[in-house]
Amino acid sequence: MVSPRRRKTGTRLTGVPMSERPDEELVAALVEGDEAAFGVLYDRYAEVLFRGALIRLGDRQLAEEVLQDTYLALWNRAELFDRRQGSVIGWLSAIARNRSVDRLRALGRRPAPLALSGLTASAELEDGAADDAREALLAKSTPVSGVSEAVDPEHELDMTWLREEVDRALAGIPEPEREVITLAYYGELSQSEIADRLAWPLGTVKTRTRRALARLRESLGDLRAGADGSR
């Protein structure tokens, strides 16, 4: 255990930046209430934990709730981490997995709409949909640096390729339609709000949304088909 007199600070006497410290040291620091160490651990693993929860739950909002719960559990119970039991990301993954299962139970054990079954350990995720997106993800993925000790395969998904493909798919949509998608998805505006913002009739917003979605489905569908064909 670390000294209880360790000061609450984002830097250390050794001069190594907090962002470069190993996980175990950061956990020891946040046991002492070091918010900077906590922030570094968030930035280091939030994305991979979010993706795991999203794959299990198939719902962005629920996945973000699980992510929040997981990090608050880390803050509240960091002293329970024992490096001999495994890595920090492994511990966080276990917490996130349990929180995801809680959400599924609250939903009546309903299978996730897009359960990528091979990546999930939960028995609740019955893969009735036989979703092949998982295969596409795995086919195109390489291990992400810094999480090589992750206990779950989904932690090793590198989403760089997917981001590039999504960016490419969005760039391929004509400007007026892309604007609708951008405002709706990234700006989280309703169709009525978009209509007000752009001074377009609501019907025009709806039509352009449908066209944009059709193009996205086609582009990302091709991406999946290409991934399948590359195996």
């Binding site: 968030y42 939030a46 996945a63 559990a73 119970r77 709706a184 990234y186 949304t209 979605l213």
Partner: protein, 242 residues
């Protein structure tokens, strides 16, 4: 609504996926249609895949980080409890040794009664011997999680050892009240009030025990409890927290 209407509704609900789960007549009608229409169901599935790809590529919203950090700043440094999981302090090492000695003593005594009365099939005797062996093996590993199982009044009534790596668990209890009507005790992993069944407790003389491997999918997290109860809804007769 015809197929075109259904698909238009699905498209318009793309950014509000919870709309399909809503408890209102339109959503209900859409769900019923999707259950019986492969083409529209495929359209809905394609939309969900598209949404998943967008969400995976986007990652969590920055607002989540803001909320988490704001909460941390608001609550401040939590009151830390003594770590009881996997910490091989001298106290726990002593407890482990004492528990092993105690259990072996109880088991030995019970085994005599148990075998002498020949109340159970022979394979239960083998289970008991295997359980003692697993207990001894777990007790020798420094990474083993240990817990004392207590009743509602805080009285110690058993001990459990668990390995996170191997998922092995060994549980021994004594003094459990006899059950009637064919009921038997079970052990569960309890997480935030939800119990996952581990196994049926075996009886031998005055002790009840279970030893074996938990399901791979079962993972003990901080605050989880090991619970001994008559069924998954019954009050815990004994429990211990990881």
């Amino acid at each position: 609504m015809d197929h075109a209407d259904i698909r238009a509704w699905l498209d318009e609900s793309f950014f509000t996926p919870a709309a399909l789960e809503a408890d209102e007549p339109t959503a209900q009608a859409i769900r019923e249609h999707l259950a019986s229409c492969p083409d529209c169901s495929a359209h809905a599935a394609a939309l969900r895949r598209t949404a998943l790809m967008l969400d995976l590529a986007r990652g969590p919203s920055p607002q989540v980080r803001d909320r988490v950090m704001a909460t941390v700043r608001r609550v401040g440094r939590p009151a830390r409890v003594e770590a009881t999981v996997g910490q091989s302090s001298p106290r726990w090492a002593g407890l482990r040794l004492a528990a092993a000695v105690l259990v072996v003593g109880i088991v030995s005594a019970s085994l005599g009664v148990f075998l002498g009365q020949a109340m159970r099939p022979a394979d239960d005797g083998q289970r008991l011997a295997s359980a003692v062996e697993m207990m001894s093996s777990l007790a020798a590993r420094p990474s083993t999680h240990e817990m004392v199982l207590r009743d509602g009044a805080g009285n110690a009534g058993g001990i459990a050892l668990m390995s996170v790596e191997s998922h092995e668990v060994a549980i021994f209890t004594s003094g459990l009240a006899a059950l009637t009507g064919g009921e038997e005790y079970h052990c569960y992993l309890e997480h935030e009030g939800e119990r996952e069944w581990i196994g049926l407790m075996r009886q031998a003389g005055g002790i009840a025990f279970w030893a074996g491997h938990m399901e791979e999918s079962m993972t003990a997290a901080p605050d989880d409890q090991l619970v001994i109860a008559a069924d998954d809804d019954a009050p815990a007769m004994l429990s211990g927290r990881f």
